[in-house]
């Protein structure tokens, strides 16, 4: 090791606010959010990119914040669960009158959680995923790979399960999670007869 700096000044846009931190280069984005910015809504699950609890949006795309060094995100925009409600709402709104993001609302309406630990990651992942679906990105289960998906409202339970497979829920709230995301997407609800469907596929 020479005398190269092991600390960096890192400037992030976090939920719309510019934040500058002096960080040891080893600091993950997850730890920077939780321990340096007190944004503890983003959860540390496995810390190895296997569970999705740490999912945030980086420049609008969902990523695992545990596998990004904060310094890699220098100059970029981060959106965490604390700032999800603001997405899509006019800036300058009275914070007390702000409404939940439609995905947050749908998780409440459809019992998309039990203990709640995975929920911030599930919601951030779902917001990112709906953007991907709206752009027509296919998934492994999309019937016509070339045509892609017709939009977020074309999602079905199998598509949601596949696209959300990077987010684990140890309580097994998958049935509610899938229903919530379908509702937020404006996609048809799962058939009543199908509601007991195999949650292990979610």
């Amino acid at each position: 090791m020479t005398d190269r700096p092991i600390w960096s000044q890192v400037t992030l846009s976090v939920n719309g606010d510019e934040r500058t931190l002096e960080l040891d280069n080893r600091t993950t984005l997850l730890d920077a959010l939780r321990e340096h910015l007190d944004l503890t809504g983003t959860k540390k699950g496995c810390d190895h990119g296997q569970c999705g609890a740490c999912t945030v949006l980086l420049d609008g795309e969902r990523v695992n914040s545990c596998l990004l060094l904060a310094v890699m995100a220098d100059g970029h925009e981060v959106r965490t669960i604390e700032g999800i409600a603001e997405l899509g709402q006019a800036s300058g709104d009275d914070p007390s009158e702000r409404e939940l993001h439609p995905v947050q609302r749908a998780f409440l309406d459809h019992d998309g959680l039990q203990c709640g630990y995975c929920t911030p990651g599930q919601i951030c992942s779902a917001v990112g995923m709906l953007g991907e679906a709206q752009r027509g990105w296919p998934s492994r289960v999309t019937s016509d790979l070339h045509a892609g998906l017709a939009g977020a409202d074309a999602l079905d339970p199998e598509e949601v399960a596949e696209r959300m497979s990077g987010n684990l829920c140890r309580c097994g709230a998958y049935v509610g999670i899938v229903d919530a995301i379908l509702a937020a997407a404006g996609a048809p609800a799962r058939d009543a007869a199908d509601r007991s469907g195999d949650p292990s596929r979610a």
Binding site: R26, G49, S125, W137, R140, R201
Partner: protein, 332 residues
């Protein structure tokens, strides 16, 4: 994790010189595998050079039908690219079968090629592993090796290569463009020559020298009339590494005779495995609808396998999967 310096490369040559001259300096791209291995203490760099700002992130569809994929194109962007989906569907299929949506948004083309094995002993610094610590022994031979390789292995190492994408690239005859650290000309190389088998030196997965930089992957235009598919078999419906995967490309005459057939296997070998023996047996053949000829040909690929008690089943699983894929391509 060891204290480290971080910089964003502005000039590839300078970055390459740094990596070539300092053993603990590494390139960093998406970080999905490297940062994890740093946390585990498997890789212990003291200097990271981030190459994601070098402008190697374009997908160029050329007039001759070939495609140039930049080294730092994200896996999600590559999978979603309309031209890739239309003309190289097995590449999109392989990417979409790998990892998760979040990881695909981070992971890059070159990083995917150079990811390390997920052998649990390689990732556990408390255990012997010849790939991580040459000469220390192989814990997998007597231990958990169900996910590991039976082709291209040695007594020193039975690690499997974890990439899905690389299996499809092998079947597409992709070439990797490497800028050499010593400044010599870029030479496109096949995946066969990029990867090496462990032999008595499992520590090196590839033939790259320190400081060599992958700058792109080139896809030749697929053969006229080619049909192709990637299929992955695993323990979990999604978000799991392959037990076995198959990338197959066929060109068939009207009468069903195979004018060209390519089969690449994942999950079973130390590197993405072109089943060239099986291909030679099948070239010019006219498979029956049950695809028994395909099954037999791919099974013969395993004549030179070194099966272990808990992964021997993968030879038959690979043969069955390949037969099913080729059958679906020929008789959809």
């Amino acid at each position: 994790m060891r204290a480290l310096s971080y910089e964003r490369a502005a000039d590839p040559r300078a970055a390459q010189r740094a990596v070539a001259s300092e053993p603990d300096t590494m390139f960093l791209a998406g970080g999905t595998n490297l940062v994890d291995l740093m946390k585990l203490g498997v890789h212990r760099p003291d200097r990271l050079i981030d190459i994601t700002g070098l402008g190697l992130d374009a997908i160029e569809h050329r007039a001759d039908g070939s495609v140039l994929i930049g080294a730092t194109v994200r896996n999600s962007a590559l999978a979603a690219d309309p031209g890739i989906r239309e003309r190289f569907p097995m590449l999109s299929q392989s990417l979409l079968a790998g990892a998760s949506g979040q990881l695909r948004n981070m992971a890059t083309t070159a990083g995917n090629l150079l990811q390390r094995t997920r052998c649990v002993y390689f990732q556990d610094t408390s255990k012997p592993c010849n790939k991580r610590e040459p000469g220390s022994g192989c814990s997998a031979l007597q231990g958990a090796h169900r996910d590991l390789a039976l082709l291209g292995t040695s007594e020193e190492c039975v690690a499997s290569h974890p990439s899905d994408m690389a299996v499809a690239l092998a079947a597409l005859d992709a070439r990797v463009l490497v800028q050499r650290a010593d400044g010599t000309a870029e030479v496109p190389q096949s995946l066969d020559s990029l990867y090496r088998e462990p032999g008595d030196d499992p520590s090196h997965d590839t033939t790259l020298q320190p400081g060599d930089l992958i700058i792109a992957v080139e896809l030749p235009a697929p053969p006229v009339g080619a049909r192709m598919a990637y299929r992955k078999v695993r323990d979990r419906w999604s978000y799991a590494f392959a037990l076995v995967s198959v990338a197959a490309l066929v060109v068939a005459d009207e009468d069903g005779r195979l004018r060209e057939v390519r089969v690449a296997l994942g999950g079973v070998a130390s590197r993405p495995w072109r089943a060239r023996k099986a291909e030679a047996l099948l070239a010019g053949a006219r498979p029956d609808p049950a695809a028994d000829a395909v099954r037999a040909a791919v099974l013969s690929e395993f004549d030179r396998a070194r099966p272990l008690p808990d992964n021997a089943f993968k030879a038959e699983l690979a043969a069955d999967t390949a037969a099913a894929v080729v059958s679906d391509l020929l008789w959809p």
